[in-house]
Structures are given as structure tokens and as C-alpha cells.
Symmetry: C2
Subunit: 327 residues, 2 copies
């Protein structure tokens, strides 16, 4: 008879009831939000699997050394650009929650695209001004070209909607240029500049890695058609802020919508350093497309739990992070 | 040998080159915008077919008696609620341009729906206020129910996009309740009140007739779910303005978007009498979804010409207007 010790799983947040129940079938479960500071080191010393929003409310850099038995980090977020990779021992496997926000973020993406395409952001009731201002005049989408940077969960869903709703020609960019569902054409990121001139709409849905930081600057923006629409639902720092400001100031017909902003060193700031928020061809929402919505977050947390359960059952979890992309 | 006299066709506006050429194969063509006031009566006296924006720039009421040979009126507009029916002799057939604006107006409809669903109209960068205000907090569309009043060109296209893009359940309302493409369920207008409680999104895409004027009032609006979204791309007067204002003031979570406004006796006014424009849950665009866009208008004019050609060739034109709906 073999004695199998149950694994210990800790979540930085309180889990929804059904998530906690599911996880408890395969591990001893702790919710760290309920644990006092005094008791925390004892629990962390036994933790094998950590489920976390590893940003604000749980300081991973501070606590990582208190977890000598840690095997796996499962994030609740889809992006993992904010993890303190230098502090995380290399034997610890990291799994992201990529895909958990695809449907709501794709809907939000289309909301920004359509708002900008039709000039609804103008709030003008003066018809002549509305129709004659290149920042606002309505544009048709049907039959146009849609370029999506990133062919993962969000990018695929954005492309699917573009084809299904507006019969758009879809072009995708990913690392290798491998084909992807709902994309008529795909290109490796090295050929980005070739496809930019054909993009009536460009959506940025790439993870922020060392390869994608600053990928879109003045040169790239200026390769887009005069009346292109750009929407960023990934991370602000994929686009160079100063370049963007300069280009939008000169090219009033280029319209830029974003749910994500720049990190000036202490996490994403919703106050851009430049005057972007005052430009007529800039439209921002304060990072509310995904997990900021309680209903969306709840579902995403359950998906993270399910992925953790894959690990605990000895199956292959989804979305293993390649640290080489970040350090 | 039979001598066939060519018909005389007159357009109130200058036609695009290809439209004029096509029409000239079947009729002697006049563009009234080019004709001096002195010469006008002579030409009108011979006109058999009139293509018109019968609103502002050509006063049909004034000139109708100057056209004793008139057989057909073909409008460039899709709606024909503004025609002076009492002055038009009953032997004259009237054809509308229904369907000519379906694609752009459906795109605009989805722009208003998605702007309202995601709260992009808030322009707030304060995340907490954004997420907690019932006028702005983001709502998911995928899998929800879409009710469309009117199953014509625009309504059908709106429903198609709802199904294809967001997997919505589509319910249509038309006069008889007859089935229509892209609608999962259809109901006669007499059963409207039964379906309102299930409509997460309601789109108004009906012609304004004596049957639909004031169709949506306080009682109908209050049957909608607490967090419903209503978009009107048909005519303002299908909705009772005072009722709408009252309901939106009380129910901050009900969001209303419109491209069309009320007619206080001298054509549509873009300045509502009530304080609608200042409400957080009201979003207006100044009737720019369709023919106000030059590219859209050009295409619509060609479709009107094609329909006129059907008549001139002895074929059956589309969209014959039943005057009984208007008088």
C-alpha cells in the first residue's frame, strides 16, 4: 500500500464555490486572502501549486523564497509579462490563463473598431462636421481587410467575427507565420511591414514579451493606409507611446482605440504621459474589456482552476509559459 | 412598323455617370438640378418616371400637378413616410429604395449596440465609476437575445450579424409574423408585448407608417429587461419621445442609441425637445448611418436607377409602396 500525500494548492484570492470544490478533490486548498500574515509562512512552506493574480495584492517577489516546495504557478491573468521571472526558480513551471478572456475581449475589440469606424466617439450632432472630419466620418467595414497581430484565443475570435459579420479578408501575424483558423493569410512577425499597407483595420492581440515590446512605432504606423483603424487590446507597451502621439497628431484620419495603457515602472497607468486622451482620433477605455468585469473574472478563475486540476491529475496543462520569451 | 415613343425619366438630382448611361438606354433622361425654373414646366409636362429625394430640394407637392403624364415615382430614400400622399394621384405607382442602405445601416446599428453594451460612450477613464455605473458597465452579448422590429433588408442584416458574430438568439417582429431568414422566431406586431421581456437587445428597423408611429411607448419600454439595450435606425417617431425621456431618466440601466430623431412638423430635427442628449444612457448620431455618406448615397442612387429600369423594360420593380400604410 502506497501512501500518496495530497498536494497543497493556494490561491491568492477567494475562489468561487464551485472552483474551490473542484480543486479540493485533488489538493488541500488554502485561500491566502483569508490567511493572517502570521500564519502565511507556515502555509506557503507547504504549497506545491500557487494560483495567483501575481500583480498587486500578492507580492510574489517577496514570498517566492517562502515556498521551497512550489512546483507550479498558474496565473488568473492571460498575460504573464508582469511576473518577476528573475526571482522565480527555474524548476517552477508557469501556466498562463490564455484564452480565458477571449470572448469578452473580442467583443470589446469589435466595440472599439465599430465605434471608431462609424465615428460614434465624436459625440457631434452637427452633421456636416461629423461627415467631413477625417477623425469621425463613417467608414464601411464590409469586404475590407482585417490584420490581427496574434493568432491566439483573442486574435482568432476577432478574426472569426470579422469574417462572419462583415465578410472581411483576415490576415494574421504570429511568430512563425503558421496558418490559423479564421485567417485567410498568415505571416511571420518578420514580414509585418509587408502586410501593414493592406490593413484597413489592425488589431493588436499579442502577448507583451521581449520580442513584441515596442513592435509598433512610427515606421509601422506610417505604413498603414491613410484611413486605417488600429485597436490594441493586448498591452500598451507593444506600441511606442511617443511615436503614436506624433503620428496621430499628424494623421487625423488614422484612428486608434485602446483598452490598455503604458507601464511607466509601477504597473499600467491609465493616465498616458502624452496628450493622447485629448486627440479626436484616440479612443480609450480603462482596461475593462476582460477580468475587471466580475462575471468575466469569475469564469476566468474557474478556467485557471480547471487547468490546475489538469496538473494535479497528472494530465498536461494548457498554456505553459516559455520564460525565454520574457527574460 | 410600330413607332414606340421613348419614356421620359427625370431625376431630381444629378445621377452618377454609370446610372445616367444605364437609364438613357431606356428613356430620355433629365436631371432637374440642371434645369432652370423657366424650362422646368415644359420638361415636367412630359415626365413619365420621376426619381427623387422627394424631401427638401424638390417640392413634390408644388410640382405634382405639372406632371400629367407621370406614371411612376421611384424614391432614392428607403423610407417613404415623408411623401405628400394626399397630393399624388392614385394612378401613380410608387416604388421605394428599401434595401439600398441595408449594409451600412446594419453596420451602424452594430456600432451603436456595441458602444452601448461596452459603455464606450462613457468616455470615463475612472475604472471604478465605469464598472459600477449601470449606464456604462460592460455587458456581454454572446448568447443573449436580439429582438428586431422589422424583418426587411436592414432588420435581416442586423439579425444575420447577431447570429454570426455573437451567436445570439434572434426574434423578429413583422406585420404578419411570417418567418424570415436569420430569425429563430418571428411574431406579428400584435404580439410585441409578449417578446419584449426576453429582449436583451432590441433594434427598431421598421418603416414609419400609420401603424408604427408611436409603437414604442412607456409601457413597451418598461416590459424590456432591466439592462436592455435599444437601438433605433428607422425613424424617431416610432418611439414616443416624452415616454422615452421619462423611462431613461428613471431606469439608468436601460440604454438607448439612435441615428434618427423626431419630426416636429418640418422634417426631422436633430435637436430633441427633451433633455435626451444629456442623459448618460442615451447615445445619438445625427442620421449619418446611410445616405448622408456620399459613397453610400451613390450606390443607393444606382439601385434606384436599376429599379426604374425594371419598370421601363416592362419587368416587375421591387418595393412597391402600399399607400394604405401611410394614409
Amino acid at each position: 500500500m502506497t501512501l500518496v500525500m495530497a498536494k497543497v494548492a493556494a490561491s491568492t484570492i477567494k475562489l468561487p464555490g464551485e472552483g474551490k470544490e473542484l480543486l479540493a478533490k485533488y489538493a488541500e486548498v488554502y485561500e491566502l486572502a483569508d490567511v493572517g500574515e502570521a500564519e502565511l509562512p507556515n502555509i506557503l512552506s507547504r504549497v506545491n501549486v500557487l494560483l495567483c493574480w501575481c500583480g498587486g495584492e500578492f507580492n510574489l517577489t517577496k514570498w517566492i523564497r517562502a515556498m521551497p516546495n512550489l512546483e507550479v504557478i498558474q496565473t488568473f491573468s492571460a498575460g504573464v509579462d508582469h511576473l518577476p521571472y528573475a526571482q522565480i526558480p527555474s524548476n517552477i513551471r508557469i501556466f498562463s490563463n490564455a484564452g480565458a478572456y477571449s470572448l469578452p475581449v473580442a467583443e470589446h475589440t469589435w466595440s472599439l473598431i465599430l465605434t471608431l469606424a462609424k465615428g460614434v466617439h465624436s459625440r457631434l450632432m452637427d452633421r456636416d462636421r461629423y461627415l467631413n472630419d477625417p477623425a469621425y466620418s463613417p467608414r464601411q467595414l464590409t469586404g475590407k481587410s482585417l490584420l490581427v497581430l496574434g493568432t491566439g484565443g483573442i486574435g482568432t475570435e476577432v478574426a472569426r467575427i470579422g469574417k462572419a459579420a462583415f465578410n472581411m479578408r483576415t490576415m494574421g501575424v504570429n511568430r512563425s507565420g503558421r496558418p490559423a483558423a479564421y485567417f485567410d493569410e498568415t505571416y511571420p512577425v518578420s514580414r509585418l511591414r509587408e502586410v501593414l499597407p493592406r490593413a484597413n483595420v489592425m488589431v493588436i492581440a499579442l502577448p507583451l514579451t521581449k520580442h513584441t515590446r515596442g513592435l509598433i512605432g512610427e515606421a509601422e504606423l506610417n505604413l498603414l493606409p491613410e484611413d486605417a483603424i488600429v485597436v490594441n487590446v493586448a498591452r500598451g507597451d507593444i506600441v511606442k507611446e511617443d511615436d503614436l502621439y506624433r503620428v496621430l497628431t499628424v494623421r487625423r484620419g488614422l484612428r486608434y482605440g485602446t483598452d490598455v495603457f503604458w507601464d511607466y515602472g509601477s504597473g499600467e497607468s491609465l493616465n498616458p504621459r502624452t496628450g493622447l486622451l485629448n486627440l479626436p482620433n484616440f479612443l480609450g477605455t480603462p482596461h475593462i474589456a476582460g477580468g475587471a468585469q466580475p462575471e468575466v473574472a469569475r469564469r476566468a478563475v474557474l478556467m485557471a482552476v480547471e487547468n490546475t486540476v489538469r496538473y494535479l491529475r497528472g494530465e498536461r496543462p494548457l498554456n505553459e509559459v516559455d520564460r525565454g520569451d520574457y527574460v
